[in-house]
Protein backbone atom coordinates (compact mmCIF):
# COMPACT_ATOMS: atom_id res chain seq x y z
CA UNK A 1 0.00 0.00 0.00
CA UNK A 2 1.33 3.44 -0.92
CA UNK A 3 0.63 6.12 1.64
CA UNK A 4 1.22 9.84 1.09
CA UNK A 5 1.51 12.02 4.19
CA UNK A 6 0.95 15.68 3.37
CA UNK A 7 1.84 17.97 6.21
CA UNK A 8 3.26 21.48 6.37
CA UNK A 9 4.90 20.46 9.62
CA UNK A 10 7.85 18.32 8.65
CA UNK A 11 8.38 17.16 12.25
CA UNK A 12 4.80 15.90 12.57
CA UNK A 13 5.04 14.17 9.21
CA UNK A 14 8.11 12.30 10.45
CA UNK A 15 6.35 11.28 13.66
CA UNK A 16 3.47 9.88 11.64
CA UNK A 17 5.72 8.18 9.15
CA UNK A 18 7.58 6.41 11.96
CA UNK A 19 4.28 5.24 13.37
CA UNK A 20 3.19 3.78 10.06
CA UNK A 21 6.51 2.00 9.59
CA UNK A 22 5.10 -0.70 11.87
CA UNK A 23 2.58 -1.69 9.21
CA UNK A 24 3.51 -4.46 6.82
CA UNK A 25 3.62 -3.85 3.07
CA UNK A 26 3.38 -0.09 3.38
CA UNK A 27 5.45 2.45 1.59
CA UNK A 28 5.16 5.99 2.91
CA UNK A 29 5.91 9.27 1.17
CA UNK A 30 6.10 12.64 2.90
CA UNK A 31 5.12 15.85 1.11
CA UNK A 32 5.65 19.11 2.96
CA UNK A 33 5.85 21.53 0.03
CA UNK A 34 2.75 23.36 -1.17
CA UNK A 35 4.12 24.08 -4.61
CA UNK A 36 3.59 21.29 -7.06
CA UNK A 37 1.50 19.35 -4.55
CA UNK A 38 -0.88 17.90 -7.09
CA UNK A 39 1.92 16.88 -9.48
CA UNK A 40 3.71 15.22 -6.59
CA UNK A 41 0.61 13.23 -5.60
CA UNK A 42 0.13 12.19 -9.18
CA UNK A 43 3.71 10.98 -9.29
CA UNK A 44 3.37 9.02 -6.04
CA UNK A 45 0.07 7.47 -7.07
CA UNK A 46 -0.96 6.75 -3.49
CA UNK A 47 -3.68 4.41 -2.26
CA UNK A 48 -4.12 6.51 0.84
CA UNK A 49 -3.51 10.21 1.43
CA UNK A 50 -3.27 11.58 4.96
CA UNK A 51 -3.47 15.35 5.40
CA UNK A 52 -3.71 17.50 8.50
CA UNK A 53 -6.98 19.39 8.87
CA UNK A 54 -5.16 22.70 9.27
CA UNK A 55 -3.53 22.50 5.86
CA UNK A 56 -4.84 25.32 3.62
CA UNK A 57 -4.33 23.11 0.56
CA UNK A 58 -7.09 20.67 1.49
CA UNK A 59 -9.50 22.31 -0.96
CA UNK A 60 -6.87 22.05 -3.68
CA UNK A 61 -6.41 18.35 -2.96
CA UNK A 62 -10.14 17.64 -2.90
CA UNK A 63 -10.57 19.49 -6.17
CA UNK A 64 -7.87 17.32 -7.67
CA UNK A 65 -9.63 14.17 -6.43
CA UNK A 66 -12.94 15.38 -7.86
CA UNK A 67 -11.38 15.98 -11.22
CA UNK A 68 -9.38 12.75 -11.19
CA UNK A 69 -12.51 10.83 -10.20
CA UNK A 70 -13.87 11.80 -13.57
CA UNK A 71 -10.71 10.39 -15.08
CA UNK A 72 -9.23 7.21 -13.69
CA UNK A 73 -8.40 7.02 -9.99
CA UNK A 74 -11.51 7.32 -7.92
CA UNK A 75 -10.76 8.49 -4.42
CA UNK A 76 -13.28 8.49 -1.60
CA UNK A 77 -13.15 10.72 1.44
CA UNK A 78 -12.19 8.75 4.53
CA UNK A 79 -12.31 5.01 4.97
CA UNK A 80 -15.91 4.23 4.63
CA UNK A 81 -18.31 7.13 4.71
CA UNK A 82 -20.71 5.15 6.87
CA UNK A 83 -18.03 4.61 9.49
CA UNK A 84 -18.86 7.76 11.41
CA UNK A 85 -16.90 6.74 14.46
CA UNK A 86 -13.65 6.56 12.52
CA UNK A 87 -14.36 9.88 10.86
CA UNK A 88 -15.13 11.62 14.14
CA UNK A 89 -11.97 10.19 15.70
CA UNK A 90 -9.86 11.41 12.82
CA UNK A 91 -11.39 14.88 12.85
CA UNK A 92 -10.87 15.07 16.61
CA UNK A 93 -7.25 14.18 16.03
CA UNK A 94 -6.95 16.72 13.21
CA UNK A 95 -6.29 14.43 10.28
CA UNK A 96 -8.22 13.74 7.11
CA UNK A 97 -7.78 10.57 5.14
CA UNK A 98 -8.48 9.99 1.48
CA UNK A 99 -8.59 6.45 0.24
CA UNK A 100 -8.71 4.95 -3.21
CA UNK A 101 -12.06 3.35 -3.82
CA UNK A 102 -12.19 -0.37 -3.35
CA UNK A 103 -9.53 -0.62 -0.67
CA UNK A 104 -11.18 -2.73 2.01
CA UNK A 105 -11.95 -1.29 5.43
CA UNK A 106 -10.04 -3.98 7.32
CA UNK A 107 -6.83 -2.87 5.60
CA UNK A 108 -7.47 0.81 6.17
CA UNK A 109 -8.72 0.81 9.72
CA UNK A 110 -5.44 -0.21 11.43
CA UNK A 111 -3.62 2.38 9.38
CA UNK A 112 -6.05 5.10 10.27
CA UNK A 113 -5.97 4.12 13.95
CA UNK A 114 -2.20 4.39 13.93
CA UNK A 115 -2.28 7.75 12.17
CA UNK A 116 -4.86 9.08 14.62
CA UNK A 117 -2.77 7.85 17.54
CA UNK A 118 0.29 9.58 16.14
CA UNK A 119 -1.56 12.84 15.51
CA UNK A 120 -2.84 12.81 19.08
CA UNK A 121 0.59 12.01 20.45
CA UNK A 122 2.09 14.86 18.46
CA UNK A 123 -0.56 17.27 19.76
CA UNK A 124 0.24 16.21 23.33
CA UNK A 125 3.94 16.73 22.72
CA UNK A 126 3.24 20.24 21.49
CA UNK A 127 1.08 21.04 24.52
CA UNK A 128 3.83 19.77 26.80
CA UNK A 129 6.39 21.81 24.92
CA UNK A 130 4.26 24.94 25.14
CA UNK A 131 3.89 24.40 28.88
CA UNK A 132 7.62 23.87 29.30
CA UNK A 133 8.34 27.02 27.31
CA UNK A 134 5.81 28.91 29.39
CA UNK A 135 7.48 27.74 32.59
CA UNK A 136 10.87 28.75 31.23
CA UNK A 137 9.62 32.21 30.31
CA UNK A 138 8.18 32.64 33.81
CA UNK A 139 11.45 31.61 35.40
CA UNK A 140 13.30 34.20 33.27
CA UNK A 141 10.83 36.94 34.20
CA UNK A 142 11.21 36.20 37.89
CA UNK A 143 15.01 36.28 37.62
CA UNK A 144 14.85 39.60 35.80
CA UNK A 145 12.48 41.09 38.38
CA UNK A 146 14.77 39.92 41.17
CA UNK A 147 17.73 41.68 39.53
CA UNK A 148 15.70 44.88 39.20
CA UNK A 149 14.83 44.81 42.92
CA UNK A 150 18.42 43.97 43.86
CA UNK A 151 19.71 46.98 41.91
CA UNK A 152 17.03 49.49 42.74
CA UNK A 153 16.45 48.61 46.39
CA UNK A 154 19.72 47.01 47.39
CA UNK A 155 18.13 43.65 48.24
CA UNK A 156 20.00 40.40 48.36
CA UNK A 157 18.68 37.74 46.03
CA UNK A 158 16.70 35.88 48.75
CA UNK A 159 15.26 39.23 49.94
CA UNK A 160 14.21 40.12 46.40
CA UNK A 161 12.46 36.80 45.95
CA UNK A 162 10.79 37.11 49.38
CA UNK A 163 9.51 40.55 48.40
CA UNK A 164 8.01 39.23 45.17
CA UNK A 165 6.41 36.33 46.99
CA UNK A 166 5.00 38.51 49.78
CA UNK A 167 3.46 40.91 47.24
CA UNK A 168 1.99 38.03 45.27
CA UNK A 169 0.42 36.57 48.39
CA UNK A 170 -0.97 39.92 49.52
CA UNK A 171 -2.55 40.53 46.13
CA UNK A 172 -3.65 36.96 45.55
CA UNK A 173 -1.68 36.78 42.30
CA UNK A 174 1.04 34.55 40.88
CA UNK A 175 4.69 35.43 41.45
CA UNK A 176 5.24 35.44 37.68
CA UNK A 177 2.52 38.09 37.30
CA UNK A 178 4.13 40.31 39.92
CA UNK A 179 7.49 39.82 38.19
CA UNK A 180 5.94 40.93 34.91
CA UNK A 181 4.51 44.01 36.65
CA UNK A 182 7.93 44.89 38.09
CA UNK A 183 9.54 44.57 34.66
CA UNK A 184 6.83 46.69 33.03
CA UNK A 185 7.14 49.35 35.73
CA UNK A 186 10.90 49.40 35.25
CA UNK A 187 10.45 49.87 31.49
CA UNK A 188 7.96 52.71 32.06
CA UNK A 189 10.40 54.42 34.37
CA UNK A 190 12.94 54.44 31.58
CA UNK A 191 14.95 51.38 32.58
CA UNK A 192 16.12 48.78 30.11
Amino acid sequence: MRIAIIDESASRAIVIREGLAALPDCETFVVTQRLGLVAKIEEIGPDVVLMDLGNPSRDVLEEYFTVSRALSRPIAMFVDESDDEAIVASIDAGVSAYVVDGLSAHRIRPLLDLAIGRFNAFARLQTDLAKAQGALAEREAIDKAKRILMTSRGFSEPQAYAELRKTAMNQGRRIADIADAVITAQQLMGGA
Partner: protein, 403 residues
Protein backbone atom coordinates in the same frame (compact mmCIF):
# COMPACT_ATOMS: atom_id res chain seq x y z
CA UNK B 1 -31.47 34.25 31.17
CA UNK B 2 -28.96 31.44 30.75
CA UNK B 3 -26.37 31.83 28.05
CA UNK B 4 -26.22 29.23 25.28
CA UNK B 5 -22.97 28.51 23.55
CA UNK B 6 -22.99 28.48 19.78
CA UNK B 7 -19.86 27.46 17.89
CA UNK B 8 -19.32 28.97 14.46
CA UNK B 9 -16.62 27.90 12.03
CA UNK B 10 -15.05 30.47 9.72
CA UNK B 11 -12.26 31.16 7.26
CA UNK B 12 -10.17 34.30 7.83
CA UNK B 13 -11.93 36.52 5.28
CA UNK B 14 -13.42 39.97 5.69
CA UNK B 15 -16.93 38.60 5.14
CA UNK B 16 -16.66 36.47 8.27
CA UNK B 17 -17.31 39.84 9.94
CA UNK B 18 -20.88 39.47 11.19
CA UNK B 19 -20.49 36.52 13.59
CA UNK B 20 -17.20 37.98 14.86
CA UNK B 21 -18.72 41.41 15.49
CA UNK B 22 -21.92 39.93 16.95
CA UNK B 23 -19.74 38.37 19.62
CA UNK B 24 -17.29 41.28 20.06
CA UNK B 25 -19.93 44.00 20.40
CA UNK B 26 -22.22 42.03 22.71
CA UNK B 27 -25.11 41.59 20.25
CA UNK B 28 -24.92 37.84 20.82
CA UNK B 29 -24.82 38.24 24.57
CA UNK B 30 -27.88 40.47 24.47
CA UNK B 31 -29.67 37.56 22.81
CA UNK B 32 -28.48 35.09 25.42
CA UNK B 33 -25.78 33.60 23.22
CA UNK B 34 -22.09 33.15 23.60
CA UNK B 35 -20.42 32.63 20.23
CA UNK B 36 -17.29 30.59 20.01
CA UNK B 37 -15.52 31.32 16.72
CA UNK B 38 -13.55 28.42 15.28
CA UNK B 39 -10.97 29.46 12.68
CA UNK B 40 -9.84 27.12 9.94
CA UNK B 41 -7.76 27.35 6.79
CA UNK B 42 -9.80 25.43 4.21
CA UNK B 43 -13.48 25.11 3.35
CA UNK B 44 -13.09 21.33 3.53
CA UNK B 45 -12.19 21.59 7.20
CA UNK B 46 -14.88 24.18 7.97
CA UNK B 47 -17.36 21.75 6.43
CA UNK B 48 -15.98 18.67 8.23
CA UNK B 49 -16.23 20.40 11.58
CA UNK B 50 -19.82 21.37 10.81
CA UNK B 51 -20.85 17.91 9.61
CA UNK B 52 -19.22 16.06 12.49
CA UNK B 53 -20.36 18.36 15.26
CA UNK B 54 -17.25 20.36 16.10
CA UNK B 55 -19.27 23.44 15.23
CA UNK B 56 -22.98 24.30 15.29
CA UNK B 57 -22.90 26.63 12.29
CA UNK B 58 -20.43 27.79 9.67
CA UNK B 59 -19.45 30.73 7.51
CA UNK B 60 -19.63 28.98 4.15
CA UNK B 61 -19.41 29.71 0.43
CA UNK B 62 -23.05 29.51 -0.66
CA UNK B 63 -22.71 26.92 -3.45
CA UNK B 64 -20.96 24.52 -1.06
CA UNK B 65 -24.06 24.45 1.16
CA UNK B 66 -26.07 23.31 -1.84
CA UNK B 67 -23.42 20.90 -3.13
CA UNK B 68 -23.25 19.26 0.31
CA UNK B 69 -27.02 18.88 0.42
CA UNK B 70 -27.06 17.32 -3.03
CA UNK B 71 -24.09 15.04 -2.31
CA UNK B 72 -21.70 16.50 -4.86
CA UNK B 73 -18.21 15.16 -4.15
CA UNK B 74 -19.23 13.31 -1.01
CA UNK B 75 -22.31 11.63 0.48
CA UNK B 76 -25.28 13.98 0.75
CA UNK B 77 -25.87 15.72 4.10
CA UNK B 78 -28.71 18.23 4.19
CA UNK B 79 -27.70 21.73 5.25
CA UNK B 80 -29.91 24.72 5.98
CA UNK B 81 -29.21 28.40 5.41
CA UNK B 82 -31.38 30.76 7.45
CA UNK B 83 -29.18 33.83 6.92
CA UNK B 84 -26.99 35.23 4.15
CA UNK B 85 -23.75 36.65 5.57
CA UNK B 86 -23.24 38.96 2.63
CA UNK B 87 -23.35 39.70 -1.08
CA UNK B 88 -20.29 40.10 -3.31
CA UNK B 89 -16.99 41.40 -1.91
CA UNK B 90 -14.74 39.45 -4.28
CA UNK B 91 -12.59 40.66 -7.13
CA UNK B 92 -10.71 39.39 -10.15
CA UNK B 93 -7.01 40.15 -9.94
CA UNK B 94 -4.67 39.52 -12.84
CA UNK B 95 -0.94 39.41 -13.30
CA UNK B 96 0.13 42.95 -14.25
CA UNK B 97 1.04 42.02 -17.85
CA UNK B 98 -2.38 40.45 -18.42
CA UNK B 99 -4.20 43.26 -16.62
CA UNK B 100 -2.51 45.78 -18.92
CA UNK B 101 -3.99 44.06 -21.96
CA UNK B 102 -7.47 43.72 -20.50
CA UNK B 103 -8.34 46.99 -18.79
CA UNK B 104 -7.27 50.61 -18.79
CA UNK B 105 -5.04 51.35 -15.85
CA UNK B 106 -6.31 53.33 -12.91
CA UNK B 107 -9.95 52.27 -12.85
CA UNK B 108 -12.02 49.14 -12.70
CA UNK B 109 -12.61 47.57 -16.10
CA UNK B 110 -15.90 47.48 -17.94
CA UNK B 111 -17.00 43.82 -17.70
CA UNK B 112 -17.97 43.50 -21.38
CA UNK B 113 -15.01 45.40 -22.82
CA UNK B 114 -12.49 43.74 -20.50
CA UNK B 115 -14.07 40.40 -21.37
CA UNK B 116 -13.67 41.04 -25.09
CA UNK B 117 -9.99 41.91 -24.66
CA UNK B 118 -9.52 38.87 -22.45
CA UNK B 119 -11.12 36.66 -25.09
CA UNK B 120 -8.48 37.83 -27.55
CA UNK B 121 -5.66 36.92 -25.15
CA UNK B 122 -7.33 33.61 -24.32
CA UNK B 123 -7.44 32.70 -28.03
CA UNK B 124 -3.77 33.55 -28.48
CA UNK B 125 -2.77 31.52 -25.48
CA UNK B 126 -4.94 28.59 -26.54
CA UNK B 127 -3.34 28.64 -29.97
CA UNK B 128 0.10 28.75 -28.36
CA UNK B 129 -0.78 25.70 -26.26
CA UNK B 130 -0.52 27.67 -23.03
CA UNK B 131 -4.07 28.25 -21.90
CA UNK B 132 -4.76 31.04 -19.47
CA UNK B 133 -5.10 29.72 -15.93
CA UNK B 134 -7.49 31.14 -13.36
CA UNK B 135 -7.45 30.37 -9.65
CA UNK B 136 -10.62 30.23 -7.57
CA UNK B 137 -10.95 29.35 -3.92
CA UNK B 138 -13.21 26.35 -4.28
CA UNK B 139 -15.05 24.41 -6.93
CA UNK B 140 -18.33 25.16 -5.13
CA UNK B 141 -17.76 28.85 -4.51
CA UNK B 142 -19.51 31.94 -5.74
CA UNK B 143 -16.09 32.99 -6.99
CA UNK B 144 -16.03 30.09 -9.40
CA UNK B 145 -19.59 30.69 -10.59
CA UNK B 146 -19.19 34.45 -10.98
CA UNK B 147 -15.94 34.04 -12.87
CA UNK B 148 -17.41 31.37 -15.15
CA UNK B 149 -20.55 33.41 -15.73
CA UNK B 150 -18.44 36.34 -16.83
CA UNK B 151 -16.06 34.32 -19.01
CA UNK B 152 -18.86 32.40 -20.73
CA UNK B 153 -20.79 35.64 -21.25
CA UNK B 154 -17.76 37.06 -23.06
CA UNK B 155 -17.38 34.10 -25.38
CA UNK B 156 -14.68 32.32 -23.39
CA UNK B 157 -15.57 28.70 -22.69
CA UNK B 158 -14.22 27.68 -19.25
CA UNK B 159 -12.40 24.31 -19.16
CA UNK B 160 -11.93 24.44 -22.93
CA UNK B 161 -10.45 27.86 -23.69
CA UNK B 162 -9.05 28.53 -20.24
CA UNK B 163 -8.22 26.44 -17.18
CA UNK B 164 -9.77 27.06 -13.80
CA UNK B 165 -8.05 25.60 -10.80
CA UNK B 166 -8.39 25.77 -7.01
CA UNK B 167 -5.96 27.88 -4.96
CA UNK B 168 -6.16 28.46 -1.21
CA UNK B 169 -6.71 32.19 -0.51
CA UNK B 170 -3.51 32.71 1.51
CA UNK B 171 -1.48 31.49 -1.48
CA UNK B 172 -3.21 33.52 -4.19
CA UNK B 173 -0.57 36.23 -4.27
CA UNK B 174 2.22 33.63 -4.43
CA UNK B 175 0.46 31.79 -7.24
CA UNK B 176 0.22 35.00 -9.30
CA UNK B 177 3.82 35.87 -8.59
CA UNK B 178 5.13 32.40 -9.49
CA UNK B 179 3.06 32.32 -12.67
CA UNK B 180 1.15 29.32 -11.37
CA UNK B 181 -1.98 31.20 -12.46
CA UNK B 182 -2.61 34.30 -14.60
CA UNK B 183 -5.56 35.55 -12.57
CA UNK B 184 -7.44 34.86 -9.37
CA UNK B 185 -10.98 35.40 -8.18
CA UNK B 186 -10.87 35.67 -4.41
CA UNK B 187 -12.31 37.58 -1.45
CA UNK B 188 -10.66 40.29 0.59
CA UNK B 189 -8.09 40.89 1.90
CA UNK B 190 -6.37 38.55 -0.56
CA UNK B 191 -6.74 40.65 -3.73
CA UNK B 192 -5.29 43.62 -1.87
CA UNK B 193 -2.44 41.51 -0.53
CA UNK B 194 -1.54 40.60 -4.13
CA UNK B 195 -1.82 44.25 -5.20
CA UNK B 196 0.35 45.48 -2.32
CA UNK B 197 3.04 43.02 -3.36
CA UNK B 198 2.83 44.04 -6.98
CA UNK B 199 1.87 40.49 -7.89
CA UNK B 200 -1.43 41.49 -9.45
CA UNK B 201 -3.84 44.26 -10.40
CA UNK B 202 -7.54 44.27 -9.66
CA UNK B 203 -9.48 44.36 -12.92
CA UNK B 204 -13.07 43.72 -11.83
CA UNK B 205 -15.15 43.49 -8.68
CA UNK B 206 -17.58 40.57 -8.76
CA UNK B 207 -20.32 43.09 -7.98
CA UNK B 208 -19.81 44.25 -11.58
CA UNK B 209 -20.70 40.78 -12.83
CA UNK B 210 -23.85 40.46 -10.74
CA UNK B 211 -24.64 43.60 -8.82
CA UNK B 212 -26.34 41.72 -5.97
CA UNK B 213 -24.79 38.26 -6.04
CA UNK B 214 -25.11 35.91 -3.08
CA UNK B 215 -21.76 35.18 -1.46
CA UNK B 216 -21.25 33.66 2.01
CA UNK B 217 -24.02 32.10 4.05
CA UNK B 218 -24.57 30.90 7.57
CA UNK B 219 -25.00 27.14 7.19
CA UNK B 220 -26.20 24.62 9.76
CA UNK B 221 -26.95 20.92 9.67
CA UNK B 222 -30.63 20.84 8.81
CA UNK B 223 -31.76 19.03 12.00
CA UNK B 224 -30.04 21.67 14.14
CA UNK B 225 -32.40 24.32 12.76
CA UNK B 226 -35.27 22.58 14.53
CA UNK B 227 -33.42 21.19 17.53
CA UNK B 228 -32.07 24.61 18.48
CA UNK B 229 -34.65 26.84 16.86
CA UNK B 230 -34.68 29.47 19.63
CA UNK B 231 -30.92 29.80 19.61
CA UNK B 232 -30.86 29.95 15.81
CA UNK B 233 -33.40 32.75 15.76
CA UNK B 234 -31.52 34.59 18.51
CA UNK B 235 -28.38 34.24 16.41
CA UNK B 236 -30.12 35.73 13.37
CA UNK B 237 -31.19 38.77 15.42
CA UNK B 238 -27.64 39.19 16.75
CA UNK B 239 -26.19 38.93 13.24
CA UNK B 240 -28.62 41.52 11.86
CA UNK B 241 -27.55 43.95 14.56
CA UNK B 242 -23.93 43.23 13.73
CA UNK B 243 -24.76 43.99 10.09
CA UNK B 244 -26.20 47.41 10.95
CA UNK B 245 -23.10 48.14 13.02
CA UNK B 246 -20.76 46.93 10.28
CA UNK B 247 -22.09 49.25 7.57
CA UNK B 248 -22.07 52.38 9.74
CA UNK B 249 -19.01 54.47 8.70
CA UNK B 250 -18.56 55.59 12.31
CA UNK B 251 -17.59 52.01 13.19
CA UNK B 252 -15.37 51.10 10.25
CA UNK B 253 -12.03 51.81 11.88
CA UNK B 254 -12.92 49.98 15.08
CA UNK B 255 -14.30 46.98 13.25
CA UNK B 256 -11.29 46.77 10.96
CA UNK B 257 -9.08 46.69 14.03
CA UNK B 258 -11.12 43.88 15.61
CA UNK B 259 -11.18 41.80 12.44
CA UNK B 260 -7.42 42.20 11.97
CA UNK B 261 -6.67 40.52 15.30
CA UNK B 262 -4.63 37.30 15.30
CA UNK B 263 -7.54 35.11 16.41
CA UNK B 264 -9.70 36.36 13.54
CA UNK B 265 -8.20 37.39 10.19
CA UNK B 266 -4.68 37.86 11.50
CA UNK B 267 -4.29 40.45 8.76
CA UNK B 268 -3.54 44.03 7.98
CA UNK B 269 -5.99 46.51 9.49
CA UNK B 270 -5.64 49.02 6.63
CA UNK B 271 -6.42 46.46 3.95
CA UNK B 272 -9.48 45.26 5.84
CA UNK B 273 -10.62 48.85 6.36
CA UNK B 274 -10.44 49.45 2.62
CA UNK B 275 -12.71 46.50 1.83
CA UNK B 276 -15.18 47.54 4.51
CA UNK B 277 -15.33 51.10 3.24
CA UNK B 278 -15.75 50.31 -0.49
CA UNK B 279 -12.28 51.55 -1.40
CA UNK B 280 -9.99 49.50 -3.59
CA UNK B 281 -6.35 49.93 -4.49
CA UNK B 282 -6.25 48.54 -8.01
CA UNK B 283 -2.50 48.47 -8.52
CA UNK B 284 0.67 48.88 -6.52
CA UNK B 285 1.50 52.57 -5.97
CA UNK B 286 -1.79 53.50 -7.67
CA UNK B 287 -4.65 55.51 -6.27
CA UNK B 288 -7.44 54.11 -4.19
CA UNK B 289 -10.72 54.13 -6.09
CA UNK B 290 -14.15 54.09 -4.58
CA UNK B 291 -16.59 51.44 -5.74
CA UNK B 292 -19.94 51.49 -3.98
CA UNK B 293 -21.33 48.29 -2.49
CA UNK B 294 -18.13 46.34 -3.11
CA UNK B 295 -19.27 44.26 -0.16
CA UNK B 296 -22.93 44.27 0.79
CA UNK B 297 -23.73 43.15 4.32
CA UNK B 298 -26.95 44.72 5.47
CA UNK B 299 -29.04 47.17 3.41
CA UNK B 300 -31.99 46.10 1.25
CA UNK B 301 -32.54 43.04 3.45
CA UNK B 302 -29.23 41.69 2.07
CA UNK B 303 -29.23 38.90 4.64
CA UNK B 304 -32.59 37.52 3.54
CA UNK B 305 -32.15 34.02 2.08
CA UNK B 306 -33.97 34.45 -1.23
CA UNK B 307 -35.01 31.05 -2.53
CA UNK B 308 -34.38 32.29 -6.07
CA UNK B 309 -30.70 32.76 -5.19
CA UNK B 310 -30.37 29.13 -4.10
CA UNK B 311 -32.03 28.13 -7.35
CA UNK B 312 -29.67 30.28 -9.40
CA UNK B 313 -26.74 28.53 -7.69
CA UNK B 314 -28.27 25.17 -8.56
CA UNK B 315 -28.49 26.12 -12.24
CA UNK B 316 -24.80 27.05 -12.19
CA UNK B 317 -23.96 23.70 -10.59
CA UNK B 318 -25.83 21.92 -13.37
CA UNK B 319 -24.09 24.09 -15.93
CA UNK B 320 -20.52 23.65 -14.74
CA UNK B 321 -20.62 20.13 -13.32
CA UNK B 322 -22.21 18.95 -16.55
CA UNK B 323 -25.26 17.55 -14.78
CA UNK B 324 -28.66 16.83 -16.16
CA UNK B 325 -31.27 19.23 -14.84
CA UNK B 326 -33.28 17.37 -12.20
CA UNK B 327 -36.44 18.98 -10.81
CA UNK B 328 -36.14 16.97 -7.57
CA UNK B 329 -32.57 18.22 -7.02
CA UNK B 330 -33.68 21.74 -7.88
CA UNK B 331 -36.36 21.50 -5.20
CA UNK B 332 -33.86 20.16 -2.65
CA UNK B 333 -31.44 22.97 -3.50
CA UNK B 334 -34.22 25.55 -3.14
CA UNK B 335 -35.13 24.22 0.31
CA UNK B 336 -31.59 24.81 1.60
CA UNK B 337 -32.42 28.52 1.90
CA UNK B 338 -34.85 29.06 4.77
CA UNK B 339 -36.64 32.42 4.58
CA UNK B 340 -39.26 31.02 7.00
CA UNK B 341 -36.66 30.87 9.78
CA UNK B 342 -35.34 34.34 8.94
CA UNK B 343 -38.86 35.80 9.02
CA UNK B 344 -39.74 34.11 12.28
CA UNK B 345 -36.61 35.45 13.94
CA UNK B 346 -37.30 39.06 12.94
CA UNK B 347 -41.05 39.37 12.94
CA UNK B 348 -42.00 42.16 15.33
CA UNK B 349 -38.53 43.73 15.12
CA UNK B 350 -37.77 46.93 13.25
CA UNK B 351 -36.09 45.04 10.44
CA UNK B 352 -37.76 45.07 7.01
CA UNK B 353 -39.01 41.74 5.70
CA UNK B 354 -39.80 41.29 2.00
CA UNK B 355 -43.27 40.20 1.00
CA UNK B 356 -42.04 37.48 -1.37
CA UNK B 357 -39.40 34.80 -0.77
CA UNK B 358 -38.31 34.54 -4.36
CA UNK B 359 -37.69 37.12 -7.06
CA UNK B 360 -36.63 37.44 -10.66
CA UNK B 361 -32.90 37.99 -10.18
CA UNK B 362 -31.21 40.70 -12.20
CA UNK B 363 -34.47 42.31 -13.29
CA UNK B 364 -34.16 45.67 -11.57
CA UNK B 365 -32.59 48.47 -13.60
CA UNK B 366 -33.33 51.19 -11.10
CA UNK B 367 -34.41 51.78 -7.52
CA UNK B 368 -37.65 49.95 -6.98
CA UNK B 369 -39.93 49.77 -3.96
CA UNK B 370 -41.05 46.19 -3.34
CA UNK B 371 -43.88 44.86 -1.22
CA UNK B 372 -42.90 44.11 2.32
CA UNK B 373 -44.27 41.87 5.04
CA UNK B 374 -42.85 44.32 7.56
CA UNK B 375 -41.28 47.76 7.20
CA UNK B 376 -40.51 49.09 3.74
CA UNK B 377 -37.95 47.89 1.24
CA UNK B 378 -36.48 49.64 -1.76
CA UNK B 379 -34.12 47.57 -3.85
CA UNK B 380 -31.51 49.17 -6.07
CA UNK B 381 -30.52 47.82 -9.47
CA UNK B 382 -29.39 44.22 -9.29
CA UNK B 383 -28.36 43.46 -12.88
CA UNK B 384 -26.13 40.79 -14.30
CA UNK B 385 -23.46 42.39 -16.51
CA UNK B 386 -24.93 40.85 -19.67
CA UNK B 387 -28.44 42.04 -18.93
CA UNK B 388 -29.91 38.55 -18.61
CA UNK B 389 -32.53 37.88 -15.99
CA UNK B 390 -33.06 34.73 -13.97
CA UNK B 391 -36.68 33.72 -13.56
CA UNK B 392 -36.96 30.96 -10.94
CA UNK B 393 -40.33 29.96 -12.41
CA UNK B 394 -38.55 28.25 -15.27
CA UNK B 395 -35.10 26.95 -14.46
CA UNK B 396 -34.68 24.68 -17.46
CA UNK B 397 -35.56 27.49 -19.86
CA UNK B 398 -32.94 29.64 -18.16
CA UNK B 399 -30.35 26.87 -18.50
CA UNK B 400 -31.24 26.38 -22.14
CA UNK B 401 -30.83 30.10 -22.76
CA UNK B 402 -27.23 29.97 -21.47
CA UNK B 403 -26.06 27.47 -24.07
Amino acid sequence: MTTQEFRIGFLPLVDACLPILAQEHGFAEAEGLSLKLVRDMSWATVLDRLLYGHTDAAHLVAPLAIATTLGRGRPARPLAVPFVLGLNGNAITMRPDLAARVAASGKLGDPSLAGASLAQVARERLAAGKRLRFGVVHRYSSHNYMLRYWLAGCGIQPDRDVEITTIAPPFCADALEDGEVDAICVGEPWNSVAVERGAGEIVLATAQIWRRGVEKVLALREPVIDERREAVEALIRALVRAGAHFVDPANWQMNARILARPEYLDGHEDLILRAISDRILLRQHGEVVRYSDFMFQYREAANFPWVSQAEWLYTQMVRWDGLKFDPADAARAARVFRPDVYRNALIGSGEPLPGASSKVEGSLHQRTAVTAQQGSITLEQNRFFDGRTFDPANLSAYLASLD
